[in-house]
Amino acid sequence: MRIVIPVKWVPDTAGEKHLDPGSLTVDRSVASVLCPVNEFAIEEAVRIKEAAPDTETVVLIVGPEAAGPTAAKALSYGLDRAVRVTDDAVAGSDAIGTARVIAAAASTIGFDLLLFGNQSTDARTSLVPAMVAELLGLPSITYARRLELVDGGLVADREHEEGYDTVSSPLPAVVSVVEAINEPRFPSFKGIMAAKSKPQDVWDLSALDGLDTALVGAGAARAVVGTATPRPPKAAGTVVTDDGAGSSAAELVAWMAERKFV
């Protein structure tokens, strides 16, 4: 059993995010981190390996040289090895272009389970896992809040607005997980030290099986950003201080009534 965990390198979740004014793509010159949603996919992979020690866990990251430490961070949770795809030709890819690179890299590595986070904290489209599944002709078991491997397949609870669907699927499959699935552990000191000596392969696009490079990068984007403008600042609102007995509630009711909310 091999699990590939594609992770994303995103701008620090606690900072302001910007678009690069020239390329209109995410400005990555700010401090970047492992997307926190990926930690739940990593934790799930580590738990599967704990239960079935012959499992191999491989973190996959598509990004520039500077994404290397993010791959090492992912390894520090206990994953076995990393593959980083670094190629200037990837720059400017939209969701489909990115999915093509991930799908080709995952096929090149070979896998039984591809384990994503359900969304990234920067673009937040949630499109990539389903696109990768489509490119590979596999089921897309997304938004899993429970995942169980059974003989030759999996069972998962897919979260939605009103509850969840329990589904079953053969392997190989593409799964994305939501935060409700587990509680990720922190990397141990031992894990952090061990990550330094774990294999981290660096591939360019020519190393990927079956990738049509003409379909990757800014020129192949199907969704094209035309303009980007900062949101105008919001005018300051009214702030009142309560007297400690809840009397300010009356002012709020009056404010809501004026705007027809009550």
Binding site: A130, I141, S169, P170, G237, A249, F261, V262
Partner: protein, 327 residues
Amino acid sequence: MTELLVLVDHSGGAPRRITLQLLAAARAVAPALGAEVAAVWLGPGAAEHAATLGAHGAVRVHHWDSADAKGYVTLPQVEALAALVAADRPAAVLFASSNHVKDVAARLAVRVDGGVITDATGLAVEDGAVVATKEVFGGDVITTSRVADGHLPLIGVASNAFAAEESGGGPAEVVALDVAPSDAATAAPVTDAVVQASAGRPDIAEASIVVSGGRGLGDASGFELLERLADLLGGGVGASRAATDAGWYPHRFQIGQTGRTISPSLYLGTGISGAIQHRAGMQTSQHVVAINKDPEAPIFQIADFGIVGDLHQVVPKLIEQLEARRG
């Protein structure tokens, strides 16, 4: 005439609110595209709602009347839409920008070499192409984007971005869509569909008013208070990551960078400091009310009305007064 397709989002046999908003969005751009608005309903139930769809502007509804649509994960819907797209060559497809529907659009885009834009809050037509306005990075940046020429635009529309509006149209003509899912599409069956009770409360994405709670609530019982408040306002209940992580409220109601994004008319946050990760999920709400003990809480920077105070004092008083107004 070319069709502008609206993928009906339905639940329990009835269209969700977003479906009527999608029809309003479609009507706004259809004339400039030289297209007429048609709906696609995948799964049983379209005939009962043909009048509603028609009254909101759909001239016809393509209906795949099969339980297979939702009996298997995603793919039967993708195959049905791919068949319709191949036969009808629509100008564009509008869909609800919600999680499971986005999966359908994502796979369809790969299959028909289309382009996907999610979470559109505005639509226009320029040089014959649909241009979508979208708020990114939690609303800090507003972008316009379009799908590259020669590729089918698949545009996900955000909840509450368009107001549902009747067009005065007669019932939509129901046209049967006849497809049979492939073996690949039936590889992943849905074995159990669990609807978790929310006491008739609207979902946070659809609700006009959302009451939300965070760490300041102190424990899970605080959400009982918020549910009472929400029910008086006809609103939904959301939570910050701190509250869902603590297990006080289900994860599917989490608002923020790692959860969901909402744009209600009124967002009322209690015991939420408003860190950037939370604001990313609610900043585009039309009106923001905040109740928090800490006068320095960042939520007050974006609040239209703020109360510095103890929510455990203020919220019960608020409930009392709203009940009194009801009589």
